[in-house]
């Protein structure tokens, strides 16, 4: 088990390295660097541009830039200076100006909070709804859950967010429509907006897997033994039916905890989700790299957590 975990962690290292190399290469292919135009799109005089590029080390050969970046990142946990916001570092943009003073206000943790609340909503409602509709297959409740889950899978989160803002914020005036972290009520709309797609997806997934499980022979055996239906479902079927849900939770957690651009944009939340778009449109090289690496690290980590979770849910999954 420990060896397996060590192996998986070690496998994460080359993945992240490859990701960083590909990102670095792709960034060099982008036409226009961070200093080709100033504020308002005015061209920057060539002398100033050369000076700026020298200051940030952009005049050195690409491999040197890459190595010195990786050196600072690995040994000093330094994502480098922002190429777009003068005087700011990428660490400040991601972890906040003063992380330890107000950790809950740090952009990365704001995004993580939004993701976590949405995740709790999606799993907490999605799994029970899926299981109920599987156990009552072809009943009206099954049809309703399946129809709404199909709708939930199909509605883009920005459309849903806009509708929710309109109905609950502007029309009924029940809920605040922007910000995060001041009141509990502020959490409702962003969490529903981000969580609905996953909720619907998890409901469909757990329904499908429960339907498959309850037709297995060992469930028939359990029933034939005379166990009560409740015991059959909870003791024998539930655990196995959760495996597919656990699988998708890895990538889903990674994506949600690192922030959703759309949700943060629509609800004016100051997380790191916005960097997934603005970093590229601003040509902020170091920020692009930082954002991708944080996402990649989260993905590697949560997939590892999922792999370990398998061991507890299903002892048949053995590690070699």
């Amino acid at each position: 088990m420990q060896r397996y975990i060590a192996q998986r962690i070690l496998w994460g290292v080359p993945v992240l390295l490859m990701v960083s190399i590909i990102t670095f290469t792709a960034m060099r292919l982008v036409p226009g660097g961070p200093f080709t135009s100033g504020g308002g799109g005015r061209p920057v005089p060539p002398d100033i541009r050369a000076n700026m590029e020298r200051k940030y080390g952009l005049d050195k050969p690409a491999w040197q830039q890459y190595l010195s970046y990786m050196y600072r990142l690995i040994f000093h946990f330094d994502f480098g200076p922002s190429f777009r916001k003068p005087g700011r570092t990428v660490n400040q943009m991601i972890f906040g100006i003063n992380f330890w003073k107000a950790p809950l206000r740090a952009p990365i943790l704001v995004s993580a909070q939004v993701g976590l609340v949405s995740l709790l909503l999606a799993v907490g409602l999605g799994v029970p709804l899926g299981l109920i509709s599987a156990l009552k297959q072809n009943s009206w409740i099954d049809y309703i859950v399946m129809f709404f889950s199909m709708l939930g899978v199909s509605i883009p989160n920005f459309v849903l967010g806009i509708i929710l803002i309109f109905v609950f914020g502007l029309w009924l005036g029940w809920l605040p429509i922007f910000g995060w972290g001041d009141t509990i009520l502020q959490m409702v709309l962003p969490a529903v907006t981000l969580g609905t797609h996953g909720l619907a997806f998890i409901a469909r997934l757990s329904r499908a897997s429960m339907l498959e499980i309850i037709h297995q022979d060992y469930i028939r055996t359990a029933r034939a033994k005379g166990l009560r239906e409740r015991v059959v479902i909870i003791r024998h079927a539930l655990k196995n039916s959760l495996i597919p849900v656990t699988t998708i939770l890895g990538p889903m957690t990674a994506a949600w905890l690192t922030g959703s651009f759309m949700v943060e944009w629509v609800f004016s939340i100051g997380g790191i989700g916005k960097f997934f778009v603005t970093a590229v449109t601003d040509r902020d090289y170091t920020l692009i790299m930082g954002t991708i690496l944080i996402y990649g690290a989260a993905l590697v980590f949560f997939n590892l957590v999922v792999d370990i979770a398998y061991a507890f849910i299903d002892p048949r999954i053995r590690f070699e």
Partner: protein
């Protein structure tokens, strides 16, 4: 497994019913019995018809302005979905915008299919070391955040006119979205290549390419078609997101995501500007999801209900 028994029973029943039914015929009949899938299919055909024949179907051109009647709420004979701040007909712009969404959805899905099938076929056919290495690369590709990567590629590609913008969306989506298809095809091939008929083909001297094209591909066509259909809503969404943040087709040519982006700030005064295009995105994604679901149930009864 009761599902399996039911499927076998169903096959027997069909066999006993008279004239032999081919696999595809049988799947088609099953698809037609699924009401939601049929409704989805019909809806898609309607939007596709509107998109292809937009100049004749749409009541106005997408750029026809009417400064006397700006921001008008929906009214029956003239503007059934209202007008925007320039007096352009929202309904006509939605019909025209269908061109962007459907093309990106279908062509993007085909691009991902071509890359994915080629990659998955090589990986699954050869197996072993090559397969190992190729699947590791897929892992690496999954390590990128989709939205950021699409935007990064789109920024690299030129987009001076609408056609170039569309092409760069296809390429970006193709580069980002092929991994799922590759994994699917690889899995199918790994399972199929151990079958006797493949061994027989190999013994009679059929070359690897022949085996892939003649024996392995046709036998994995069902799941591939399903994956192709279920890919489309995701791509329609990606395009809508790109247009929403201003990276899609350049205005004045409309796309649904761009219309939502332009309209949503004025939700209180002019809700129809954002709601109708938002509805268009949602309904067409819903239609493709229902159709894909129905296709899966029809093509592969064993897979019924899995997502």
């Amino acid at each position: 497994m009761a599902v399996r028994e039911k499927a076998v029973g169903r096959a027997l029943e069909l066999e006993l019913r008279g004239p032999p039914v081919s696999l595809w015929r049988d799947a088609w009949n099953r698809l037609l019995r699924n009401r939601m899938a049929v409704a989805g299919g019909i809806f898609i055909l309607i939007i596709a018809f509107g998109a292809v024949f937009a100049p004749w179907v749409a009541p106005y051109s997408y750029k026809k302005t009417n400064y006397d009647r700006t921001r008008e709420p929906p009214s029956f004979p003239d503007y059934i979905m209202g007008t925007d701040e320039l007096g352009r007909d929202v309904f006509s712009r939605i019909i025209w915008g269908g061109r962007v969404s459907l093309t990106v959805g279908v062509v993007g899905s085909l691009t991902a299919l071509i890359i994915g099938i080629t990659y998955g076929a090589i990986s699954g056919y050869f197996g072993g070391r090559i397969d190992d290495l190729m699947m590791r690369f897929v892992d690496v590709m999954y390590g990128f955040p989709t939205l950021l990567f699409v935007i990064l590629i789109m920024v690299i590609l030129p987009q001076e006119n609408p056609l170039q913008a569309m092409t760069s969306i296809f390429i970006a989506i193709g580069i980002v979205g092929w991994m799922g298809m590759a994994r699917l095809v690889r899995g199918q091939f790994l399972a199929l290549r151990e079958k006797e008929f493949v061994l027989a083909a190999r013994m009679t001297g059929v070359r690897p390419l022949g085996i892939i094209a003649r024996h392995l591909l046709p036998n994995s066509l069902g799941p591939v078609i399903v994956a192709l259909t279920l890919n489309i809503p995701g791509l329609i969404l990606t395009e809508a997101v790109l247009s929403f943040i201003g990276l899609g087709v350049p205005p004045p040519f409309p796309s649904w995501g761009q219309m939502v982006a332009d309209g949503w700030r004025g939700m209180r005064a002019t809700p129809w500007l954002a709601i109708f295009p938002g509805l268009a995105i949602t309904l067409s994604m819903l239609a493709f999801n229902f159709l894909g679901d129905g296709l899966r149930d029809a093509l592969d009864p064993m897979m019924r209900g899995t997502y």
